[in-house]
Symmetry: C2
Subunit: 318 residues, 2 copies
């Protein structure tokens, strides 16, 4: 089988870009992968780990011979990142991305990129809370879903090749309207991240680190306290008492700052709607707690539980 | 080493009770484990899986020869469950529990149980979203934390034996004031569960299952849609697009209904305070999203991220 692309340029060799480079090379989907990024330390790691075959900081050199550019940067950086390669890319080179917000990225790319460079926006729904080339791994995409968001302007050959790239690294691929994508992802991804951040921030507010002696108080976890010196609540590090529910719920709060700042800013309307819907559901449970209404709590918990069990069944089928 | 207890009576042979029975027997901490519960099907599973050595529905028989009673039932059932054994237990038999809320349980037990039956309240901070004897496993408690909440009335010998029981199955054990325990657990466990329930309920509200044709729409996941028939948002099952962030954040939404209804009702004040603190943190991020304030978002995300990374380091040390 001949490769899909001769030279794939990955702009932003982080978890997503780096994992794609590794997986695409391993499966013979590309002949060569060139990395482009901001920090040489990260690109060196990418080169050492074999995620890329070479890297450069020169856009002209990066663009040379490239037949596919993957923009794997925070979504607000997609336009500026693209702009620097525009003068140098050869006609027919496919432009694609991996951003978690699609409508504004599609609009940006379609306004910026000439028809000679076919654009196909993509969102591989895969990831971990870890960032950078050091976090990349070849199996990241396997059996996960990738959403492509073509428009009336999208070149069908380019669409088929981008589909083949993500299918080639093990993803199921589906097409969807960019705005619908953004509304759904606001609910199932962007809101959960905001919640995870807010759980951590709410906890910091409730149990502020002690001033002056933070390190001694918060790093020590005595195995026991004599009765006379049992901890007072303002001396306690609540994270010591966190079980797996808390750890799992907040896992993605460790996600990269710029990436999530940009997603919040770019998917504003859908995210605000998702937050409001969640707030309404939480307010309803809060009222039931305040009123001691066990019946209402049972109804809410049962409904949530059944839907979550449906997710477990869906994931088992994948 | 002689066993800690000759006969341990486990009232409620679910995930916690059943796992303790299995682990305590495996480590030789108890000679015999007797199960007591509401449904014979569950007790049969417990017997077949070796979580218990016998079971009965007769409180008098259950109490006979028992030198430790573990009440592993939803917290509001602790008092009623205890009451039925009171006429039959021999003086010196230790009464303990495994509830996630401590102050009301301690108050209930101390008002109900005579001094001849020493009470030691405990909260082994371990669990999964799964319930029942079928979900029990022997390593559930290993390296996790167990909080004991003794009071001035607590018998120190009984306290030492209950500590030895939980240490014996691999837990680190710590003592704490019941009210402080409840305030901390509201933050790191009870609030996260309410959030997980509310995420599922908010999503159901935003994407209601289609009426009449729910099964066909929501169980099918086509691999692709021709452009002409791309899904409209009200035909989409959002759970299909959920990644690991959503799955992990909502994992505990599948937790048992009665258990969580009771925790919500019994830890009302601390839980309401925790919800309010979280709501304030979320409101702050929501305002930053609405105002497009990237700087404020970066501050909130960075603070949350650093604290979550601290949790990762704490858990790696365990």
């Amino acid at each position: 089988m001949s490769p899909l692309f001769h030279r794939l340029l990955i702009v932003g060799v982080g978890l997503i870009g780096g994992s794609l480079g590794l997986a695409a090379k391993a499966r013979g989907l590309v002949e060569q992968v060139v990395g482009f990024g901001r920090t040489e330390a990260n690109l060196k790691i990418a080169l050492e780990r074999g995620l890329i075959d070479a890297y450069t900081f020169d856009p002209a050199e990066a663009a040379q011979g490239t037949d596919c550019v993957l923009l794997a940067v925070p979504v607000q950086a997609t336009g500026p990142a693209m702009q620097q390669f525009l003068p140098y890319l050869s006609p027919g080179c496919i432009v694609t991305d991996a951003g978690s917000v699609k409508a504004p990225v599609v609009a940006t790319l379609e306004s910026l990129v000439p028809d000679s460079l076919p654009c196909v926006a993509a969102h591989p729904i895969a990831g971990t809370e870890n960032a950078g080339a050091g976090a990349a791994f070849a199996t990241l995409f396997e059996r996960r879903l990738c959403v492509l968001t073509p428009t009336a302007r999208t070149n069908t050959d380019a669409l088929a090749r981008v589909r083949a790239l993500w299918e080639g690294v093990g993803m199921r691929v589906e097409e969807m309207d960019p705005a619908i994508h953004d509304r759904i992802l606001a609910q199932v991804s962007h809101l959960p991240h905001l919640i995870a951040f807010s759980v951590m921030n709410g906890l910091l507010q409730a149990f502020p680190p002690s001033r002056g002696n933070e390190s001694s108080i918060r790093s020590e976890r005595p195995d026991t306290f004599p009765l006379a010196t049992r901890p007072q609540s303002d001396q306690v590090d609540p994270l010591v008492y966190a079980g797996s529910a808390f750890a799992d719920l907040t896992r993605v709060a460790a996600s990269p700052v710029e990436m999530w700042r940009d997603i919040c800013l770019e998917n504003r309307a859908a995210l605000l709607a998702a937050i409001s819907g969640f707030e309404a559901a939480l307010t309803q449970m809060k009222a039931a707690v305040a009123e001691g209404d066990g019946q209402a709590l049972s109804v809410d918990i049962t409904r949530a539980r059944e839907e979550r069990q449906r997710l477990t069944r869906l994931r088992e089928k994948e």
